[in-house]
């Protein structure tokens, strides 16, 4: 009898989980929401994998590129939509070869981009005299080798306030799970009084790790320590619609995992966006995080600001942006972590995947550079 009762409770639980799943898109923007969602998905029997093929309609041009106030090079990546099987390699047929690509500003300056011989999808501005300036509008022209011409709407390069401060906060990983504790990196900045400011952040951290999970000490020097790279969320954007003129405080931009003891090196970049670019990236993110609930907005092509010159109804995918960048760096000393206790709890759990890291000289002067 008790068993039957438990079974019934389990069944009801499952139904409620399924039902709750269907609601979750409403909170997917928040971190806890995503966590709940992941938990729910794995627990419940309400989600089944299907084997539906993805149809492929005619290939569309995909434009990805950005001009900034940093000195060149600037890159524009040109590809076609189509079947992407591998995670990293671009299929030969989907690269745009031999296109004539130029960027113009609204004062008559123009620069021709050169195709990279090693990474043929990329076209570069290497002319150091051509540099983005706040207040200018930039237009991208593309002529494909079959004669089709694409042009972007003039994109305004707007200003961005400086990052005032970065702080890091230790957050303990869930007990019982092979999940590292983290340093949550929080950003403070002040939104200008004028309305209509849009932000995008990108962040990266170099965190210490040991090659095989445990430190190997030889004559009191750890010989297998290295650094691993972690990136912030892909598309982290914000509009000042609700907070105009206020401080943006303690905005989380990155979680740096604690795989080992030692210093973490963090860099955060703050980009300005136009309203159109903000809307583009919001839609991009919305679609990337669709949960299949009935409360999701209707999906549609994420169309940007590049279209065919003669027929403006043919719109390319992707976005040609223009941004001011402000940067800030932070070193997290990591000296509050108890080495001995750390080894007991996590020893051997996180094996190093040492990535390309900045030079020692750069790390020495991390925050002054």
């Amino acid at each position: 009898m008790t068993q039957r009762f438990t079974e019934m409770i389990r069944r009801y639980t499952e139904i409620f989980v399924c039902w709750a799943t269907s609601l979750l898109s409403q909170l997917k923007s928040s971190r806890s929401g995503v966590l709940v969602y992941l938990c729910v998905i794995t627990l419940s029997g309400c989600v089944d994998e299907l084997q539906l093929p993805i149809r492929q309609v005619e290939p569309r041009l995909v434009v990805e590129g950005l001009i900034t106030t940093d000195p060149p090079p600037y890159s524009i990546k040109l590809t076609f939509s189509g079947r992407y099987n591998s995670a990293y390699e671009l299929p030969e047929g989907l690269l745009v070869n031999g296109a004539v690509v130029t960027i113009n500003d609204d004062q008559g300056h123009s620069v021709r981009l050169r195709q990279d011989p090693l990474a043929p999808a990329y076209y570069f501005v290497r002319d150091t005299t051509f540099r983005g300036k706040a207040g200018r509008r930039y237009t991208l022209h593309i002529r494909l080798d079959d004669g089709r011409q694409y042009v972007s709407s003039p994109e305004l390069l707007t200003d961005v306030p400086p990052i005032e401060q970065l702080t890091a906060e230790y957050q303990s990983g869930a007990s019982g799970l092979p999940q590292p504790s983290i340093y949550r990196v929080l950003l403070d900045t002040r939104d200008p009084i004028t309305p209509g400011n849009y932000y995008r952040w990108s962040a990266l951290a170099y965190s210490p790790i040991w090659q095989n999970g445990v430190p190997k000490v030889f004559e009191s020097v750890t010989v297998n320590a290295c650094l691993t790279t972690t990136y912030g969320p892909l598309t982290d954007v914000l509009s000042d619609a609700l907070i105009n003129g206020n401080r943006i405080s303690r905005r989380p931009v990155l979680d740096a995992p604690i795989y080992g003891t030692g210093r973490h090196y963090v860099e955060v970049q703050q980009y300005s966006l136009t309203r159109a670019a903000y809307q583009y990236w919001t839609r991009f993110e919305e679609q990337r995080t669709r949960t299949g609930s009935l409360f999701d907005a209707q999906p549609a092509s994420i169309e940007g600001n590049v279209h065919q010159q003669t027929d403006t109804t043919i719109v390319a995918l992707g976005y040609f942006g223009a941004s001011t960048i402000s940067r800030k760096r932070l070193v997290i000393p990591g000296d509050t972590i108890n080495y001995g206790r750390f080894i007991v709890r996590y020893g051997g759990l996180f094996k190093g995947n040492c990535s390309v890291v900045p030079s020692d000289a750069e790390l020495e002067n991390w925050t002054t550079n």
Binding site: G33, E49, V57, A241, N246, R250, G292, L294, Q298, P299
Partner: protein
């Protein structure tokens, strides 16, 4: 594709022919007529019975009782054998001879426990299917609702309606319903005359109407009476029970999600004042608490309350007041708290001046509020949106002759809407206060409707309604540059309107017509046409309605939605009305539907106009239904084939959806089959089954892949080009009626249901997601398993 366009001509011809026929018919010679009038009450509770059919088969004279149980008919002298019948009651016959005086009668009908569930849905008279003028009408038999299998054991009026032909939803667990290709905001849902803006509990899992407190439910899918307007696709009329007159009774129930209690009875010694008070309270928080972390910190709670006072001044005069309230909260821990609340207040004075003339004076207020509390530490806020509608209406009924039934009246409406406002809560919040301007509007409407029955074989109901709508200031209107799609950047001017200044005017005639012609005594052909206008729009860009949606009144850039519906039907009864069959065909066109630009921002958008598009819609279908209305086995087989399509005919390609072509609406589900049966066993047991089969709803699958920003991205270039798999399920229920005799006062009922007996994993949605480097497709099923439930109900 098969379309019904040539049908218009056919209709026009029929209408013209009928009008000519009516003019040509010579008036019958006047004869002295007398009146039979009186009241019909419940034999057990003495409560007046509405919608009782009073009919003399031989003479062909008949009428129905009004909400006070009263009836009146004019007859020629002679012998009459009147039959009084109503759903759930034993029919009763009275013989009388009319010689030279009016006759008043009091008739009591006894409830029929065994036949309580004659069938879940039924017309008023035994042959109403064939003989009533109306078509496309669904009446729920409230007494039988308990015998229909339901999910979680919660008797649900709206879910019962979705078993009917022509009524569908986008998915189980989604709020609202779609009638004949209409959107969920196109249903005028009136509880005691007040509009209900939200019909769901728990974001759509259940409806928020307590079936115990509701007397009657009538859904008009077409042929909408001229007295009503303001929504395009359907009219759902519901009334709270009046309260029993003989003694105080208590009934209630305990289910898996909720408990209910309802008290009703006389409130004064002379029994002229009666009351009803009922409520329903939920405890799903308890069930959520059984979840693993962190879902067990979610909280869900709801309640609803119904109250009514009825005062019978005289036999011809009655005052009533009702109150309804529904409240919901749902909380995700550390994140957001959703709150919705609806409050309805109504007051009505019903007066019969003489046997031919009576009126109803009604005042209502409906108020709906939505709150969203953000609980994230530095961004705590409260977002709210509200709508309030106040109506006053006067409805006259004049029946000078049995062959004429004249209804006329008018209404005044005031709207006040807050589309959205956000304000910080707590001291550390970085959120600024932002409030969109309140929208105010006024509307007046007048109508006139005549039901004329020149012969027993022909009746015509012809009506017209005129509505005039004004959006009034204070307000702000943006003007946009001509010749390009509207965007925030193309605003050329901002017009500010002072208090009471008109921002926009709209108005128009709404003709309504229904004609019935009997082909044989047991069969008839009916045609109907109606035009409807809608000045209030639900702004919602999701597949199912969600609580975040808000309402908007028409303004200079958002004209009212207009729909025209033609329907024709053939109705035939067999075996002394034991079997009712019908075939109905309809065609509907809709104009000025609200659609959204891709990536539209809806919440707190001061220039929402720029994100809205105008769409057209068309819907057509065939509904076939066979019902068995009497006997131990009763039931319904209904099949519907219907299509509903939309398109955005914008001149600007950049805002078009699917290139401006027709595409299926989200609730376009062509095939729809329902088989519902109730089988009476001995000892009070009833065995109920539902089988439902519908085509899958359209959805948008990806049709391209590309790489951007380091991620693989899916392209969705064609809206609603795909369909999720078909939906089907079988439910069974066993209900035990504890009564041994008809008049038994204390008894209890048990109800055991199994929803989705064969545990079919019906897809609720299908979606694509990137997992590491590959894109996978998933199916989400909400009620993808058998759901047993049990509930206990008592009457004392």
């Amino acid at each position: 594709m098969f379309t019904f366009y040539p049908m218009h001509q056919f209709f026009v011809r029929i209408i013209l022919a009928s009008v000519l026929l009516l003019i040509a018919v010579p008036r019958l010679q006047a004869q002295i007529r007398f009146r039979i009038y009186g009241q019909v009450v419940d034999g057990v509770t003495n409560k007046p019975l509405a919608n009782v059919s009073v009919y003399d088969k031989k003479q062909g004279a008949g009428t129905t009782t009004d909400s006070t149980g009263a009836f009146s008919m004019q007859v020629l002298p002679g012998p009459y054998n009147l039959t009084f019948s109503a759903v759930g009651y034993y029919a009763r016959s009275r013989f009388l001879e009319i010689e030279r005086a009016n006759i008043r009668m009091e008739v009591a009908l006894n409830p029929d426990t065994r036949q309580l569930d004659e069938v879940n849905v039924k017309g008023r008279t035994p042959d109403a299917n064939v003989s009533a003028t109306q078509m496309s009408v669904v009446r729920l038999d409230m007494k039988n609702l308990r015998n229909i299998p339901v999910v979680f054991g919660e008797v649900d009026i709206l879910k019962a309606l979705t078993l009917q032909p022509g009524v569908s939803t986008v998915g189980e667990g989604a709020g609202g319903f779609n009638v004949r290709g209409g959107r969920t905001d196109q249903n005028l849902v009136l509880l005691d005359g007040a509009p209900l803006f939200n019909t769901s509990h728990l974001l759509g899992l259940l409806s928020n109407l307590n079936a115990d407190a509701i007397q009657d439910v009538t859904l008009y899918k077409g042929g909408i009476p001229a007295a009503y307007g303001g929504r395009l696709s359907s009219l759902l009329l519901m009334n709270t029970k009046a309260g029993e007159t003989d003694r105080v009774s208590v009934n209630g129930g305990i289910g898996l999600l909720t408990s209910r209690l309802l008290v009703q009875g006389p409130a004064s010694k002379n029994k002229k004042l009666t009351f009803l008070a009922g409520g329903r309270i939920a405890y799903p928080s308890f069930i959520l608490g059984l979840f693993p972390e962190p879902t067990n910190k979610d909280r869900a709670f709801f309640y609803d309350l119904n109250g009514r006072l009825t005062y019978r001044l005289t036999n011809d005069s009655q005052l009533s007041a009702t109150v309804y309230r529904s409240y919901d909260t749902f909380k995700f821990p550390q994140d957001t708290l959703y709150t919705t609340q609806s409050t309805l207040l109504t007051a009505r004075w019903s007066q019969r001046l003489n046997p031919q003339l009576s009126f109803n004076l009604t005042a209502t207020q409906s108020d709906y509020r939505f709150f969203l509390d953000g609980l994230t530490s530095t961004n705590t806020y409260r977002y709210r949106s509200t709508i309030r509608q106040r109506d006053a209406r006067l409805d006259w009924l004049y029946t000078p002759k049995p062959t004429h039934r004249l209804e006329f009246g008018g209404s005044l409406t005031g709207y006040s809407l807050l589309p959205g406002a956000i304000a910080p809560t707590g001291d550390n919040s970085n959120i600024n206060t932002q409030t969109l301007p309140t929208e105010q509007a006024r509307e007046w409407a007048g109508y006139l409707s005549e039901e004329w029955t020149p012969f027993r074989v022909l009746s015509v109901q012809v009506g017209v309604r005129y509505a005039q709508f004004t959006n009034v200031g204070p307000g702000v209107a943006y003007q946009y540059a001509e010749g390009q799609p509207r965007t925030r950047e193309s605003i050329t001017d901002t017009l500010r309107y002072g208090n009471g200044q008109a921002l926009a005017h709209y108005g128009g005639w709404e003709p309504r017509l229904t004609i019935r012609a009997n082909l044989t005594p047991n069969s008839s052909l009916k045609v109907s046409y109606n035009r409807t206008r809608q000045f209030l729009h639900l702004i919602s860009n999701t597949t199912a309605i969600s609580p975040v949606d808000f309402w908007k009144v028409s303004d200079a850039l958002v004209p009212p939605q207009v729909a025209d519906q033609f329907a024709v039907g053939y109705f035939r009864n067999f075996n002394d009305n034991m079997y009712e069959t019908s075939v109905e065909v309809y065609h509907k066109t809709l104009e000025n539907l609200v659609e959204y630009r891709n990536g539209a921002t809806l919440l707190l958008n001061p220039t929402l106009d720029a994100d809205l598009l105008r769409a057209q819609g068309k819907a057509y279908g065939v509904e076939v239904s066979v019902q068995k209305t009497r006997g131990l086995l009763t039931g319904l087989i209904a099949y519907t084939y219907s299509r509903t399509l939309a398109r955005v005919p914008s001149p600007y390609p950049s805002v078009q959806i699917n290139g401006g072509d027709w595409y299926p609406s989200t609730f376009d589900r062509p095939h729809n089959l329902t088989i519902a049966t109730q089988w009476k066993w001995s000892r009070g047991w009833t065995f109920g089954t539902n089988f439902v089969y519908t085509s899958g709803r359209p959805t948008t699958y990806p049709d391209g892949t590309y790489r951007l920003n380091g991620a693989k991205v899916l392209d969705y270039s064609q809206r609603n080009a795909d369909r999720i798999p078909d939906y089907h399920r079988l439910d069974v229920s066993f209900t035990k009626d504890g009564r041994r005799t008809v008049g038994q006062r204390h008894y209890s009922n048990w109800s055991i249901s199994f929803y989705n007996v064969y545990a079919h994993k019906n897809p609720y949605s299908i979606y694509f997601q990137r997992v590491n480097t590959t894109t996978k497709s998933y199916q989400l099923s909400v009620f993808g398993t058998i759901i047993p439930s049990i509930s206990w109900n008592f009457t004392y």
